[in-house]
């Protein structure tokens, strides 16, 4: 059995092309109370290398949009094209491999694996991809986020800010085409949050990664090339930008 059945030629995307291309995406979920329409016709095009923030109230569908883009949730209808892959055509394991090769995710709650050291946490995506020198790269990645001296520490031995740095190192270590960050500073104090944001943007610039950022912080949102506002499962409006094309509201 091997890991990695997604065609590598598809995984690195041409910078001139759209990295995220959603067309009329709906997501309806059944609950005890009946059917709930989480996303109600989202169309969105994000060019490679761009930074995009998604803002909106709780329940607007921001996180769900992230799930759809990362292949963690399947759209009820519509077309989802990410990094050249039609996600609706991929099975569960192929989606896992797609994420491994193309997507980095930073969560509000860090989501580090508590039984693994910082280095092991960072090395995991590379190990899953079968990279030979996973630990050397993980060590370098941790060095880049300023945690060279914390490589053997377990998550519960690190502060919140340090844990989020490990999460960022993990997200960037496999040099993904697309980085999704869900409220990356939500669990951090202002000072720590600011330094984490600096790091995030610094690495994004250095790697040329496309960054999609969910935030409640308007100041942080404005640091992105483009701001998408969502409410009630719809994209409301968007300032004009050379990198984005609004197709549906």
């Amino acid at each position: 059995m091997t890991i990695g059945t997604v065609d590598p030629s598809q995984s690195r995307h041409d910078a001139a092309q759209s990295i995220v291309d959603l067309r009329d995406v709906h997501l309806n979920l059944r609950s005890a109370a009946g059917e709930v329409n989480i996303l109600r016709g989202i169309s969105l095009d994000i060019r490679a290398g761009a930074t995009v923030s998604i803002v909106g109230p709780s329940g607007a569908g921001k996180s769900t949009l992230m799930m759809i883009v990362s292949g963690l949730e399947s759209a009820s209808s519509g077309q989802v094209q990410v990094a050249g892959h039609d996600l609706s055509a991929l099975g569960e394991d192929a989606l896992a491999e797609f994420r491994r090769d193309n997507i980095g995710i930073v969560f509000q709650a860090f989501r580090l694996i508590p039984t693994m050291t910082a280095m092991e946490n960072v090395a995991i995506p590379l190990e899953l991809a079968g990279t030979g020198d996973a630990f050397r790269q993980a060590r370098e990645s941790l060095g880049r986020v300023g945690l060279a001296d914390r490589v053997q520490h377990y998550p519960d031995q690190l502060s919140g800010g340090e844990q989020q740095r490990v999460a960022i190192a993990r997200a960037f270590v496999s040099k993904p085409a697309l980085l999704l960050a869900d409220e990356p500073t939500g669990n951090l104090d202002r000072t720590t949050g600011d330094s984490v944001v600096e790091l995030l943007f610094d690495l994004q610039t250095r790697h040329g990664t496309t960054l999609v950022l969910i935030t409640h912080d308007e100041i942080l949102a404005t640091r992105c090339d483009r701001i998408i506002r969502m409410a009630d499962g719809l994209i409301l409006a968007e300032p004009t930008s050379s990198d984005t094309t609004l197709k549906t509201a």
Binding site: T2, I3, F107
Partner: protein
């Protein structure tokens, strides 16, 4: 390869600090494996001990037994040429401590000067056997079992009357090398010399006497070939030859049977433990939901998740299996210590890899059978939840592949049960029983929970909360009722069966059984014996029948060695059986097939046969049975089948011949005497044995008491082993309490925030665990009583009586376990301060 290496690496990381989550898992697995490994190791050790000391137990390389008569001279001469021979004679006899002293039945053994050929007699005082038994001033010596000293109040130097001779007790027997464990002993051992036996006057024509010839063959001798040749040279000898291959066949059969039973008890414990294994794995994976979601989010395929945690579970299973095997491995030395002095051979110490390997295999397969389901479900964790505050474990069924894998593991477990018990019927009954009990427990619990849910909600908030806790989502009620209930079911079944058997032996059977059997009555003594017994007041009934010993040599023309009888009737073809003849149908007999012969029958030999034995041998009316009676082969045709109720302890015979065949054979008469009241009983024994010293009296009450003692000992062993199942159930309960700890703390904190006092919360938990205990007790008592009823009425064909004590014990254990462990587990929850927990939320 890389896939497995990565899974192993991830599993190793996940193992860090997770051992604490698997305490119950390890305990359940180790307990079950230890039980199976221990039982198997002790059994193997006993078999090894018996085969190592087989020559000593047998008294030589070969032992030949003849009933009623000695070996023909030419055969005896041939034996003498083959090797060194030792002769011994055994019989039952009455003894009396001096003139007018107490009387009792003993097992008399008369030995020659070379006895024992193998091993040594140990006497107290330590004098040589020959010296102890020699004649001094016209009095022969005897050595006796210490229990006879106690029973008759005699000591070394006292006189002991046997038949017509007064022996002098010269020593007590400390060790008799060729004495194996027998369950049907009629009295303590008395040993004298063969030369002294004629002085007793006990050996007369037809007396029930066995002649034993032990031969030490020169080495090297091909013993099986020698036996075959010797048997072929004397085809009609009618002896029973044993070699070291079957030195203690009865005892080995007993060990095999007990091993089978205890292995199944161990397997039950393992199955109960399996519930704990499943709970522990599920609980651990629930805690790891976030990690699994993260791994999936980072690109780990579902199969890798499954493999990672499977490796982890199997590594932990190895720890449990090693602990269990280690405990099982030390069982033989422990048993050797406990049985020293009881078991006839020294139990050899050693590592018995075969039973331990089998137990380990059981452990691994059980782990797989119970862990694959929660492991398969874990791969369904939704990674999308990582974007939410709460990551919850998946519910529903795993993918079909994992369901199939679980089924394969369950089938493998069933196959192992077949292999381990080596008795397809028993294994099948166990498997069907286990499945049935699972269904009954599952269904019973669901039904009771549904009933509880439908009951009107109590007004008392504590009571309402307690009842709601039993059936709220993710409740552990079914697994606790199942696991603890299974243990209790085994216990209640064993208690009921034991109670009913004891009830039969002490209450029911004595009501209809005779008071005495008198054996070795010579035909000419029948009349004076009858007159004497009838003259004693209180004698209600007297029956006698002629008896001669014989053994089956052919069944429907097929040599008995080639016949494979059913296990339950094997006793009828193993060795000698009592044979009788009758003109009329015996009083209590019921002919179930064919017809009884006419009164004036004269013609070829006919027999009336036990219907059950006929079924087990696969014969019926018109088939022939060939018996060797005193060296003569008699082929008789079965003309009718009788149903025999052995529980009446009446004079029942498997074989009853029609008139005209056995009358001429030298035989004795056996008599059953029914006396009312102790006085009449004592008078019967005293007067008969006084007047007829050669007649031996077997007191039925003594035999029943002996049987009850054996039953008690067996029951203690069975109950101890059954407790292992209960212990496994308690482990599972403890595991469920620990798993629910987090929820309890959360609930307790919220309730306290809302104004509930600790006392009120405690009351609510107390009621919840009490109801849980009662639920378990109700289901276990019901299932246990049904099983007990089935065993007693269907298998033992006896009347079933419910024991309130057995049910009371079940309820008490259930309540004590659930309330005790439940409150122990919730004590911490009650002591938690609300603020830190709320801040973390």
């Amino acid at each position: 390869m890389r896939y497995w290496a990565l899974a192993a690496r991830l599993a190793r990381r996940e193992l860090r600090g997770s051992l604490g989550n698997f305490r119950v898992f390890l305990a359940c697995l180790a307990l079950g494996v230890a039980a199976i490994a221990g039982v198997g190791s002790v059994s193997d050790a006993m078999h090894t001990g018996i085969s190592r000391d087989a020559r000593q137990l047998l008294g030589g390389d070969i032992s030949i037994r003849m009933s009623h008569r000695t070996m023909p001279a030419d055969a005896r001469a041939a034996l003498g040429q083959a090797g060194q021979v030792s002769e011994a004679i055994t019989m039952r006899a009455m003894t009396q401590s001096g003139q007018g002293g107490r009387r009792t039945l003993v097992e008399l053994k008369a030995v020659d000067g070379v006895y024992p050929l193998i091993g040594a007699m140990a006497l107290e005082p330590a004098i040589p056997l020959a010296q102890a038994l020699e004649e001094r001033d016209g009095t022969m010596g005897a050595v006796i079992d210490p229990s006879l000293s106690r029973r008759l109040g005699v000591a070394v130097g006292d006189r002991l009357r046997i038949g017509n001779h007064d022996f002098e007790i010269r020593a007590e027997i400390a060790k008799e090398p060729d004495r194996t464990i027998r369950f049907a002993t009629f009295g303590p051992r008395v040993m004298v010399t063969s030369a002294a036996l004629p002085r007793t006057g006990l050996v007369t024509e037809g007396s029930l006497v066995h002649y034993h010839y032990r031969v030490a063959l020169p080495k090297p001798t091909n013993v099986p070939a020698w036996i075959k040749n010797f048997d072929a040279a004397y085809p009609k000898a009618g002896w029973r030859i044993r070699s070291t291959q079957n030195a203690a066949p009865g005892f080995e059969r007993f060990i095999a049977r007990v091993t089978q039973f205890l292995t199944l008890v161990g397997l039950t414990a393992l199955l109960v433990g399996g519930v704990g294994i499943a709970n522990a794995v599920r609980s651990f994976l629930d805690q790891r939901t976030g990690t699994i979601a993260t791994l999936k989010c980072l690109g780990a395929p579902g199969g890798l998740i499954f493999t990672t945690y499977l490796i982890q579970v199997m590594v932990l299973a190895t720890v449990g299996v090693v602990i269990g095997s280690a405990i099982g491995a030390i069982a033989p030395p422990l048993t050797a210590h406990l049985l020293s002095g009881v078991f006839p051979v020294t139990i050899p110490l050693g590592f018995y890899w075969k039973p331990i390997g089998m137990a380990a295999l059981f452990g691994y397969v059980t782990t797989l059978a119970f862990a694959v389901w929660p492991l398969g479900r874990a791969r369904n964790v939704s990674a999308a939840q990582l974007f939410r505050a709460l990551v919850v474990p998946p519910d529903g069924w795993p993918n079909p592949g994992y369901i199939a894998l679980t089924a394969v593991a369950a089938l493998a477990l069933a196959a192992l049960a077949f292999f381990a018990t080596d008795d397809p019927r028993l294994a099948l009954s166990f498997i069907i029983g286990a499945c049935g009990v699972l269904v009954v427990f599952g269904g019973g619990t669901a039904l009771l929970l549904r009933l509880i849910r439908r009951l009107p909600s109590p007004r008392h908030p504590g009571l309402r909360l307690a009842i709601a806790n039993l059936h709220r989502p993710d409740n552990t009620t079914p697994s606790i009722v199942l696991s603890l209930g299974l243990g209790l079911t085994v216990l209640v079944t064993v208690a009921l069966v034991q109670f009913n058997m004891a009830y039969q032996i002490t209450q029911q059977i004595p009501k209809q059984a005779p008071s005495y059997f008198f054996i070795d009555i010579q035909p000419h003594q029948v009349e004076p014996f009858t007159t004497l017994v009838r003259s004693i007041s209180g004698v209600a009934k007297l029956e006698h029948t002629p008896m001669v010993r014989g053994r089956i040599v052919r069944v429907a023309g097929v040599p008995i060695e080639q016949v494979k009888p059913d296990k339950d009737i094997a006793w009828a073809v193993n060795g000698d059986r009592g044979l009788t003849y009758a003109t009329h149908l015996p009083e209590d007999a019921k002919v179930v097939a064919g017809d009884w012969w006419p009164e004036d029958y004269s013609g070829p030999p006919l027999i009336s046969f036990d219907a059950n034995v006929a079924r087990g041998l696969g014969v019926g009316i018109g088939d022939t049975i060939t018996l060797n009676v005193l060296g003569r082969e008699i082929t008789a045709t079965i003309v009718n089948l009788r149903h025999i109720d052995w529980a009446t302890l009446g004079m029942n015979f498997v074989f009853v011949f029609a008139p005209g065949t056995l009358e001429a054979a030298p035989h004795s008469v056996i008599s059953a005497v029914y006396a009312e009241g102790t006085e009449a009983e004592e008078a019967v024994q005293g007067l008969v044995t006084e007047r007829f010293p050669n007649i031996s009296a077997i007191r039925v009450k003594d035999a029943l008491e002996n049987a009850n003692r054996i039953l008690d000992a067996v029951a203690i062993a069975v109950r101890t082993t059954a407790s292992v199942t209960l212990l496994a159930g308690i482990f599972v309960l403890a595991g469920a309490v620990v798993a629910g700890q987090h929820r309890r703390i959360h609930d307790a904190v919220i309730l306290k925030v809302l104004g509930a006092t600790r006392r009120r919360v405690l009351f609510s938990y107390l009621v919840e665990y009490a109801i849980l205990g009662l639920l378990t007790a109700i289901v276990a008592s019901a299932v246990g009583t049904v099983l007990g009823y089935f065993i007693i009425t269907e298998l033992m064909r006896a009347e079933f009586v419910v024991s309130a004590m057995a049910i009371g014990l079940t309820v008490s254990i259930a309540l004590l376990s659930t309330i005790g462990l439940g409150l122990f587990g919730t004590w911490r929850a009650l002591g938690m301060k609300a603020a830190p927990l709320l801040r973390n939320k």
